[in-house]
């Protein structure tokens, strides 16, 4: 057998959380330390996708000169709007009525793919200045599974040569910033997440437009989401005449065939966007999921013997503020402080790492997550908000009313409903304690008989709309023929599932919710079976989340296979 491969710290995933961590740790250290970074994409940033408009508070801490020293931001937000959309009209909520947390002026517009590639290069440069400080990046080598030594996390499996030492990366501490790809096994093993995570999926396109919209930020509600479904759009103007158009939608709602790429196409049909897209060119398409459970989905412990959770893997995203990047980075920053202390004391046990949790929860991340703790619950407790109020509001706006008038009208139409609305509003804006939110674990509640009766904008230009299959092409995926990164556990279970959904003329959820035309059902030897065109997959994990029978698992693809999200 070969020698063991050992580092002090292993970071799983080169996302905003772990890049902030590595940069901060290299800043802090005055003694030798060896850090390995595993990333499943073939280049750092290759699988990273976000919005993103972000409070630059952590970027400022790490890169005080970020506005002028080459830090790859895509502009600073100069105008931000919350907009209400009907199929025909688009109205911005007056600034006075816009909740303060939705005002994004002064925030950084980022693509985290470029950002993390940049920070990685900075980490390498900083480490080179310090004796004995090593940071080795391993793009194309995902952590395949967690290796335990009794109850302690000893490292992760990274290769398949059959020689255990050559296949395992051992570390004193392994930090998971992998949005759950492998760390869900850690959470399951220690039963850390008593209340499950709640997921949304985001689909996004980058366009090059003839005119610049740099610095403008819109967050939309109403069209094209169906009544009863939580979701909204984002439209960000970036430098270099780039326009980002995206939709985020909950995966815990009743429609079994959400078709996220189609909803994005429908948003683009809106006359307001059509106007911006005239003469424009599609650059890229992609999708990724967002953990939206927030405060009540946080694990009981943020660290165990030999391992920590950061960013989306931990669940720091704050959906009320649409703030994921800054909180992920802050979690990495605080994890670095903790690891630095642990490194000095040579104690990476759960107790040696315990201060991490307090640092997060007593700091602004914990405070803001607490303030947002009932956001998701408000929509669950008050279905009228999504079923009736927002559709009415959108309809009133569409018929030409101002937002204020439309709001009053939509509220007044149902006086009892509007009392509920006030209570929902209180949960969102200014919560008093009403006990923990409880989320559903699975998707067994989805409706086979759900009827989608959305009204779609008319009169759009064909050349700005793509069939969903075309869009997939713009994710630039690449896989080798031996790739098998999605595992189907039991074909018989799929057959039953298909029969159920066939009976109500629906697609199975994996087919209906996939963001990249991967899943399909087809006839083989007289029965209908589930099949996958894995070469399209953008690794968003939506299918696994929505499978009502927990019958598939999306693993990190090996060898850097997957989409090319550079610039996303």
């Amino acid at each position: 057998m070969s020698d063991r491969i050992e580092y002090d710290v292993t970071l799983v995933g080169a996302g905003p959380a772990n890049m902030a961590l590595a940069y901060r740790l290299v800043q802090l250290t005055d003694r030798p330390i060896r850090i390995a970074v595993l990333e499943k994409a073939k280049e750092i940033g290759g699988h990273l996708l976000s919005g993103a408009v972000s409070n630059p508070r952590v970027i400022e801490k790490l890169f005080p000169m970020w506005k002028s020293d080459g830090f790859p931001h895509k502009g600073i937000c100069s105008e931000s709007y919350v907009s209400i959309l009907g199929p025909r009209r688009w109205e911005n909520v007056p600034s006075l009525l816009t909740p303060p947390y939705f005002k994004k002026e002064g925030y950084a517009i980022l693509n985290i793919s470029d950002m993390c590639a940049y920070i990685a290069a900075k980490i390498t440069a900083e480490a080179a200045q310090k004796d004995g400080v090593v940071v080795d990046f391993y793009p194309g080598f995902p952590a395949q599974r967690i290796v335990f030594d009794g109850d302690r996390v000893a490292g992760v499996k990274v290769d398949d040569t059959g020689d255990e030492n050559a296949d395992t990366l051992y570390s004193k501490v392994t930090v998971f910033g992998d949005k759950g790809f492998v760390s869900r096994d850690l959470i399951a093993k220690y039963n850390l997440r008593k209340n499950p995570q709640v997921w949304s999926v985001g689909v996004k396109e980058v366009w090059e437009t003839p005119q610049s919209h740099e610095g403008k930020v819109w967050h939309t509600m109403g069209y094209p989401m169906a009544p009863g479904h939580l979701g909204g759009g984002f439209v960000y103007g970036q430098t270099n005449n780039q326009l980002v158009i995206g939709m985020v939608m909950g995966l815990d709602f009743v429609n079994p065939n959400l078709r996220p790429p189609q909803i994005l196409q429908d948003l683009k049909k809106h006359p307001f966007i059509q106007e911006m897209l005239r003469g424009a060119k599609l650059v890229k398409y992609g999708a990724s999921v967002l953990p939206e459970g927030g405060f009540y989905s946080l694990p009981e412990k943020f660290a165990v013997d030999g391992a920590m959770l950061v960013g989306d893997a931990l669940g720091t995203l704050d959906v009320k503020r649409f703030s994921g990047v800054d909180k992920a980075m802050e979690s990495g920053y605080q994890a670095a402080e903790t690891i630095w202390e642990a490194h000095k004391k040579e104690d990476f046990s759960a107790s040696g790492l315990a201060s991490y949790q307090a640092r997060i929860m007593n700091g602004w991340v914990g405070k803001e997550l607490s303030d947002s703790r009932y956001f998701r619950k408000a929509f669950n407790d008050h279905p009228k908000l999504l079923d009736i109020f927002i559709p009415r509001l959108a309809a009133a706006v569409d018929s030409g009313k101002s937002v204020v008038y439309a709001g009053i009208q939509a509220g007044m139409a149902d006086p009892f409903g509007s009392l509920g609305l006030l209570s929902a509003r209180k949960k969102i804006e200014n919560p008093s304690d009403i006990g923990p939110a409880v989320y559903k674990e699975d998707r067994t509640h989805i409706g086979k008989d759900y009827a989608d009766n959305r009204k779609i904008s008319e009169g759009y230009a064909e050349n700005t709309i793509y069939t969903t299959a075309d869009v997939v092409f713009y994710a630039h995926t690449h896989y080798g023929e031996e790739n098998r990164h999605i595992e189907e556990f039991d074909a018989a279970v799929c057959k039953e599932c298909i029969a159920t959904f066939d009976a109500s003329k629906k697609d199975t959820p994996c087919v209906g919710d996939c963001t990249a035309e991967v899943h399909q059902t087809l006839e083989k030897d007289g029965t209908r079976i589930h099949a996958m065109a894995l070469e399209n997959c953008v690794q968003c994990t939506t299918c696994e989340i929505v499978c009502p029978r927990t019958n598939i698992r999306v693993r990190a693809a090996l060898r850097g296979y997957g989409p090319d999200f550079s610039g996303m």
Binding site: D136, K269, E462
Partner: protein
Amino acid sequence: MGNGYKMAVLIKQVPDTSSAAGVNPDGTVDRARAKRMINPFDKFALQKAIETRAAHGGEINVISMGPPPALEVLVEALEYGADYGYLLSDRRLAASDTLATAFALYKAITYLKDVDIVFTGLQTTDGDTAQTGPQIAERLDVAQITYCETMEIVNGRIQASRIIDGGIQKLETAPPALITIANSASRLEHKKFANVHMVKKLSRDKAEMERRIKTITLDDIGAEPERVGLLGSPTVVGKTWKLGEKGGSCQLFKGDKPSHEVELLVGAIKSDGKGVEEFVA
């Protein structure tokens, strides 16, 4: 063979054809600006060496002739599992044609001493002559097997299948030999984590790095300067032509349903007086 085979694999660094960087408007390559990569054909040669070492033991020496950036392909070859790298780099090699290149590489192989098997790729994506391998074999005065797809060594004899027009030819010879590997041969295995890790450590250990990758010059290999570079290259490049570009008008039909796109296509064929020919041609 107690210690297995001493192998040399010849790898050239070529411009990255998948990247537009460094391609001049007239279609020629600006080598300084272009992204670089291992000549894709040479990966099949490296794989054959790896398979041979796995079956019989031995050591894999990678040789590349080129300017200093070609060091990158040697480092990458070590990540793929090669044991040693030799960069043959010398200003006096500039402007070598295949005659001069083959001579220099032949000298480099003899400098390594006692090489049993030389593996080369079929051709390169930039020079594209497929002459280098056979020329080296002639100079080494060893057996050559070109277009080799599969091979094994049985009782010390190389048994190889090579692709010929309309079929496969089986050959047998004893080392030493030079084999050019076809691009239908088995593909290069993915890098092993342990090898990538080892190369990262090498990059911080100057002495060990110099032991594993050596830069050699004409003086080291004892090649006469007048037989390489411009002086040693009888090829005269008279003139180069750009043969024009393929292409034409491509029209994409977009709609939110495939059936809609087909309608648009059919509509365009019908309404555009030019009829179907334009789309079929």
